[in-house]
């Protein structure tokens, strides 16, 4: 994707995505506990100024596509003690998502 303009969202509701395992410096919005996990796009949330750049005085443009991704708790925590169908949702900017768009 171009670094200078916002393209169409790569993913849509129902797509399977994996969260990138990366540890860039700075204040990032993807918590460590979810890196490497696979979930399903629950919805596309729109495009937002990239807070990971805005936090350091940059404009945060172009905006980044943001998605909500739903994970099964048993996929996130191997010792999860709730019901098998319990879920956990988080939001991700598109550059954190890996996987072939459908």
């Amino acid at each position: 994707m171009s670094e200078t303009e916002l393209g169409e969202p790569l993913y849509k509701t129902g797509d399977s995505v994996r969260i990138a395992v990366a540890y860039p410096p700075g204040h990032r919005r993807t918590p460590d506990y979810i890196k490497g996990k696979t979930g399903i796009v629950e919805r596309y949330c729109g495009a937002f100024i990239n807070p990971e750049e805005r936090a350091y005085g940059f404009a945060g443009l172009p905006k980044k596509h943001l998605y909500r991704v739903r994970f099964e708790q048993s996929e996130v925590w191997h010792d999860y003690e709730g019901a098998a169908k319990d879920t956990l949702d988080l939001e991700f900017y598109e550059h954190w998502l890996e996987g072939e768009p459908s």
């Binding site: 918590p31 943001l66 709730g82 019901a83 319990d86 956990l88 939001e91």
Partner: protein, 221 residues
């Protein structure tokens, strides 16, 4: 402002209504003598000195933030409980639906998640303490504690149980980590036995914690 040694916040005690023990992180991430609070104070003094804002404006804004409670959140819930078409719009696009009630969401988008007979929702922000302040006011201290932030995502049923509600095994628990631009409001299920109640009666059932999903509203008979 209190002195750094004074324990002026209420988590770990009974005052905030939380049964959880947060004594292990009573200062969570904040200490008034740390680098960042001092920097914030320096910036506050600078913008006043340079007459960018008036000292009174800062205090007025702080007072406004302190004064807000869950009134707007409760208004949204009562409207959804009494107007099915509004509820449909609210669940489809929270920001647009609350705008109908003249409730602005500022820069954030509102996602409303509904508790039903087979689903219970719980809100957390593991990264900091993102919270729908425009409609619920300031978050309680337990919401900001590291204990809640870490436990809510990996043992939500235990956390909810400690708040006094047991979620049955056949009910799905959905946790929402508010880690970016969305803000979340739980739409609790309307309690049984409230047919014919007016808006004021319904409003009284709604508690702050029930709008985060830590508890469920109930009719006390």
């Amino acid at each position: 402002m209190s002195s750094p040694d004074e324990h002026d916040h209420d988590h770990g005690h009974k005052e905030d209504g939380s049964p959880l023990n947060y004594a292990d992180d009573s200062r969570h991430d904040y200490n008034e003598t740390d680098h960042y609070p001092l920097m914030v104070e320096a910036i506050r003094q600078l913008v006043i000195e340079k007459e960018i804002v008036k000292a009174g404006d800062v205090q007025e804004r702080l007072d406004f933030m302190d004064s807000r409670g869950i009134e707007l959140g409760a208004k949204i819930v009562v409207k959804a409980w009494t107007d099915p078409e509004f509820k449909t719009r609210l669940l489809a696009d929270g920001t647009a639906a609350v705008a109908e009630l003249d409730i602005p969401m500022a820069d954030a988008e509102l996602v409303v998640v509904e508790n039903t007979a087979d689903t219970h929702n719980l809100i957390v922000c593991t990264l900091c303490s993102c919270y729908p302040r425009t409609i619920l006011g300031l978050p309680p201290d337990w919401y900001k504690s590291k204990t809640y932030r870490s436990r809510a995502v990996n043992e939500p049923r235990a956390v909810i149980r400690e708040f006094g509600t047991v979620i049955a095994d056949d009910v799905t628990v959905r946790v929402h980590d508010s880690n970016a631009d969305m803000r979340y409001l739980v739409l609790p299920a309307r309690p049984q036995g409230t047919d014919g109640w007016n808006d004021e009666q319904l409003t009284e059932l709604i508690t702050r914690d029930s709008l985060v999903g830590a508890t469920v509203p109930a009719v006390i008979s």
